[in-house]
């Protein structure tokens, strides 16, 4: 009886820790959960686009790190008085670096038939080791004491939306990107080609309207650019410096974000918030109730399996069948 009571007590304590860590206090919500949802949204939108085109970009983590590296390099070089151009330049560098990193996988896929699943995962490991090397070698801060870079120039930092919190302007970029990607996928000819290739590359090719390999390559590049952008936003909005564990696995959580959203760019906004809540809540549980925070990734994996299990062969084909039925009705 006493054991039961203490168990219930423990459980209440764990829930309370989760709540206080994620949404329960304004600092947890605005400085923790919402800030964490920003990279999850942006990488998640990119993963959705790639999966819709039938490209399995599992390399969001590596692309994000390369974006962070590029943003740090530009941010360190920028003089302090360049104004808004500085931040645009920094973020563009991040997006370009992410696209270039994904571009390696795109070239390997189209020229040499290498599965992008394998190449993007290998590139994740290379990127993580590259960051470790840079922050201990060429980019290490001047005193050579800590494995991190110097702080980036003030001109390269994203403004805070609300001075008492860590919430930064990146959230606006994330929302805009999610809406723009939805518009692109559902309202443009290029978006239609992406969905057509994802549904059936051979059918899309035979129709004669679409070069499937160039569509998949571009989808991979765009998703890499988005992940790179997310990395540069993390550096310019949150950390202001590069260090080893800059990303707590955003690239992997983003796969859960995308699959949970059934690859719908607008739904990504909601699922990113959900996953961010789960992760900051788990960190709260670790801090206050001694529950290992990695349970968050267990829950994310189970969520992916449940969604995939109930929802058709893949999220992509599930969406596609619905749309095809819809288009058929219109024709």
């Amino acid at each position: 009886m006493i054991a039961d009571l203490s168990l219930a007590n423990d459980f209440g304590q764990i829930l309370d820790a989760f709540w206080r860590g994620s949404l329960g206090t304004s600092s947890a919500l605005f400085s923790g959960t919402l800030v964490r949802a920003i990279p999850l949204t942006i990488v998640g939108v990119g993963v959705s686009l790639a999966f819709r085109a039938g490209v399995f970009n599992i390399g969001g983590e590596g692309q994000l790190l390369l974006g962070a590296v590029a943003a740090t390099v530009v941010g360190l070089l920028l003089p302090n008085k360049v104004g808004a151009a500085g931040i645009i330049l920094t973020l563009s560098a991040g997006a370009l670096a992410g696209a270039a990193w994904a571009g390696i996988a795109a070239v390997l896929r189209n020229r040499f038939g290498v599965l992008e699943v394998i190449s993007t995962i290998m590139l994740n490991f290379v990127a993580a080791n590259l960051v470790s090397y840079l922050v201990r070698g060429p980019l290490q801060e001047p005193t050579h004491t800590y494995p991190q870079t110097d702080l980036i120039s003030a001109a390269a930092r994203l403004p805070r939306l609300w001075s008492e919190t860590r919430l930064h302007a990146g959230i606006l970029i994330a929302i805009c990107l999610s809406i723009a990607s939805w518009w692109f996928l559902t309202r443009t000819a290029a978006g239609f080609r992406v969905r057509a290739v994802g549904a059936s590359p051979s059918a899309a090719g035979i129709s004669g309207l679409v070069d499937a390999s160039s569509v998949t390559a571009r989808a991979l590049l765009v998703s890499g650019a988005l992940a790179g952008l997310a990395g540069s936003i993390e550096v310019t909005g949150v950390t202001y410096a590069l260090y080893e564990n800059l990303s707590p696995g955003y690239g992997f959580s983003a796969i859960a974000v995308a699959v949970l959203a059934r690859l719908h760019p607008l739904a990504v906004l909601g699922t990113a918030l959900l996953i961010a809540t789960l992760e900051t809540g788990a960190l709260g549980m670790q801090r206050d109730a001694g529950v290992p925070s990695v349970v968050a990734s267990v829950l994310e994996a189970m969520a992916i399996l449940v969604v995939i299990g109930i929802g058709g062969r893949t999220g992509a084909s599930w969406r596609w069948r619905k749309r095809r039925a819809h288009a058929g009705a219109e024709a």
């Binding site: 399995f56 599992i58 390696i104 390997l108 020229r111 040499f112 038939g113 290498v114 599965l115 699943v117 394998i118 190449s119 995962i121 290998m122 590139l123 490991f125 290379v126 080791n129 590259l130 470790s132 090397y133 201990r136 070698g137 992997f252 796969i255 859960a256 699959v259 529950v291 290992p292 990695v294 349970v295 968050a296 990734s297 267990v298 994310e300 994996a301 189970m302 992916i304 399996l305 995939i308 299990g309 062969r313 893949t314 999220g315």
Partner: protein, 300 residues
Amino acid sequence: MSDIGPFLEAAVRTATPLLIASVGETVSERAGIINIGLEGCIIAGAYAAFAAGTSTPSAGYVAATLAGAAVGVLLAAFSVFLRRDQIIVGTALTMLALGATGALFRARGEDASLVVVTEPAAVIPLLSSIPIVGRAFFAQPAIAYLALALAIAVWWWLQRTHAGLSLRAVGDSPSAARAAGIRVGLVQTGAVLFGSGLGGLAGGALVLAQAGSFAEGMSAGRGFLAIAIVALGRWRPAGVMAASVVFGAAMALQFVVQALGWNLRYELVLMIPYVLTLVALGALGRGAAPAMLGRAPVYD
């Protein structure tokens, strides 16, 4: 020159888990199922071998194999039975196993032992005293010899038995296989369980024949390397064996770089196996992949 012997010894030791995992993955892929969850099987096996904490390594290996196969049960349920996308399911299984082993490892008691009994090298008399290569090939833990035996047995089974032919037929043309009376789902389930069980055994070898302890994420991409090794070995056990040794050597470089006096940063050395994979896959392409690899069978 004196460094070459120890380096080869380390290379063979490092290649052992890679060979075990990639031999299993070869069987799975020849049946048409790519196991992206192999990384998860390896970490599950590693944790099981560590947590079993048995005084005899063989019991640890059994626990590791069962843990890997348990991950495989999920892959078979989702990708063979429910026909869901193999890549998404596999990715989720890897996340699941990495997270679950991490949580279990952190949640275990403070005073629990961090060290497990490792397997001693089974030294073969005379042969092991051959200069340079002797210790590398004839003074390894028993699991290394088992890995070699497995590779040969799988080659023989795939190429020389009727059952092996059936399995290859399933991966190349499930509809033809089904027309010939082969139960495709059953064969794929068996192949997945075999492959994931060997993935678990590879994780066990990592703990019981190499590290002697567990660390979160200690699989360090070996599951993905094994999948690449299968492609580089052209889905044939002999090729897989050769590719495993090359990658074992690439991973073993981290142990010898300082001894060799190379002026190379440790982080850059750790990068080598992954870069090598990309370069090798680019150079060799993907030749004779099973026709239906990664795709759910479609019947007319």
